[in-house]
């Protein structure tokens, strides 16, 4: 418990004034514009949008500047802002099969319809710091554009029944932002929680499955990044329009499955879909998604953290986590006073009891 304490107003005001000065840094340097952050720190912006669960690049860039680059603080600002906005409605489910792909790779098939498209990737870079001025760049080479839809890789396995079927299903999605999380959580709810989960936490959990804590033998069947239109029914109009366009990263894993009493041996799926260009996060989500499916697929629960839905879903949200973690630095004078009294009393009693 913490209690309200008065008397700190002046100190708080002055602390915030100093924060503003520190945030600004050397006033001899120009202030970074929101547009500069949006354009040149795009992956930080993407992370704040994904974990803030609100796709608006200018807002995320503004939050990053206000938070001095502390991305969890920026996510906090976005989550807080989001609560001030009314919900207008829900989109139709986006069609990632119709995505205009910037990047699309498969680790399972070399030759596939649509090809391996590397996109603007860090892969195969030497990870050597470049001290050259990066202001001037050569234009990226162009080739004849192919705007035909790129089929999903798992459809190739699906055709031969070698991978679990995805049942057609229009069950309305539960919404974590409307109803509190209840366990057991269905896969739709888990995927929503993971889409906005902390990237570091999700990465660590996914890595733990690779190291043997709930191993799922995942291959990246497909990873794609690109833009999809967001379509929504407008009741006043009586038809749907494309109300916007967002960038998404989608990862589908192909996992080993030996089969069970009722199912023949076939591959199974893990799935991750994250807002923005967030490739590490999307892969991590798909590994954790697959690990969480142990019960549905008749696998053993080995006690691995990534298999434990209660553990994963209760700890993956960095705003919940940081809120609870950081609150212990706020005044707890009364609690501590009580503990202090207790320790003193116990010590006094122990001393008296000594012969």
């Amino acid at each position: 418990m913490y209690v309200a304490v008065k008397g700190g107003e002046r100190a708080i005001d002055n602390a915030h004034a100093w924060l503003a000065e520190e945030r600004r840094g050397d006033p001899a340097l120009p202030l970074m514009s929101v547009a500069q952050i949006r354009e040149q720190m795009a992956l930080a912006v993407n992370r704040v949008m994904a974990e803030g669960s609100l796709y608006d690049p200018d807002l995320a860039a503004l939050a990053i500047r206000q938070a001095r680059g502390d991305l969890i603080e920026a996510v906090f600002l976005i989550r807080a802002y989001r609560t001030t906005l009314p919900r207008i409605g829900a989109s139709r489910p986006v069609d990632t099969g119709a995505m205009a792909v910037d990047r699309r790779i498969s680790a399972t098939f070399k030759d596939l319809p649509g090809g391996q498209v590397l996109g603007p990737t860090f892969d195969y870079t030497h990870r050597l710091l470049d001290f050259a001025d990066q202001a001037a760049i050569d234009p990226a080479p162009l080739a004849a554009p192919d705007t035909a839809p790129v089929p999903h890789v798992t459809a190739i396995l699906d055709r031969d029944g070698l991978i679990e079927a995805v049942p057609q299903n229009d069950t309305p999605a539960p919404d974590l932002t409307r109803e509190p999380l209840e366990l057991p959580a269905c896969r739709a709810l888990r995927l929503q929680a993971l889409a906005r989960a902390d990237e570091g936490f999700t990465l660590a959990l996914a890595y733990s499955t690779q190291r043997g804590y709930g191993r799922t033998h995942a291959f990246v069947g497909e990873l794609r990044i690109g833009r999809v239109p967001v379509e929504m029914d407008i009741p006043e109009l009586g038809f749907a329009i494309e109300i916007g366009e967002i960038e998404l990263t989608e990862c589908e894993t192909v996992n080993q499955f030996k089969g069970s009493r009722t199912e023949p041996a076939q591959f199974t799926r893990g799935y991750g879909l994250v807002m923005g260009q967030s490739e590490r996060k999307a892969i991590a989500v798909s590994l954790v998604d697959r690990a969480l499916r142990w019960q549905e697929l008749g696998e053993d629960f080995t006690g691995a953290p990534a298999q434990d839905a209660e553990f994963v879903l209760s700890h993956c949200d960095n705003i919940q986590a940081t809120g609870f973690l950081e609150h212990i630095k706020l005044p707890h004078y009364v609690d501590f006073q009580a503990e202090l009294e207790l320790v003193r009393r116990l010590r006094a009693e122990a001393q008296e009891a000594q012969p």
Binding site: L54, P145, D175, F239, I243, R269
Partner: protein, 144 residues
């Protein structure tokens, strides 16, 4: 989306929703006289995906959306639903929606300009992506 010079209402509303507020303001600097049916309001739309791309829907996260509705002096109603938080963007989209209903031939070129610019941007990315497509070739093996 249709390339016809007189697009369907669904198409022009979609083009306007996804256009940049600055670009639309440059193309339509002056608004026609209008009265509000619903003043601009910013909110969110929950975007849904599907499990494994084709299965049950789930929520990915929200986008910001601004909407409004207005009426021209002639009585035509226009609806604006745009991505982002710009009230001016939604207002212009609603005004154009009404104008496209009253005089499509006069305003279709503006919509067509936006459509072509979006297409050019999309093709620009597709051309860069195409240049990063891996062309595998197999090295000749000794035993053949």
């Amino acid at each position: 989306m249709s390339a016809s010079p007189l697009p369907q209402r669904r198409n022009w509303l979609s083009i306007l929703a996804k256009s940049s507020p600055e670009r639309l303001a440059a193309l339509l600097p002056d608004l026609p006289a209008h009265e509000w049916l619903r003043a601009p309001e910013t909110g969110t739309v929950m975007v849904q995906g599907r499990i494994s791309a084709t299965g049950a829907p789930f929520n990915i996260g929200e986008i910001t959306v601004t909407r409004c509705a207005l009426r021209l002096p002639c009585g035509t109603e226009g609806h604006g639903h745009v991505q982002g938080r710009s009230h001016a963007h939604a207002t212009r989209a609603a005004a154009l929606d009404a104008l496209m209903q009253t005089d499509p031939a006069a305003h279709a070129p503006l919509v067509e300009t936006l459509r072509l610019e979006a297409q050019t941007a999309r093709e620009g990315r597709a051309a860069r992506a195409a240049a990063t497509r891996v062309e595998f070739f197999t090295l000749q093996r000794g035993e053949d």
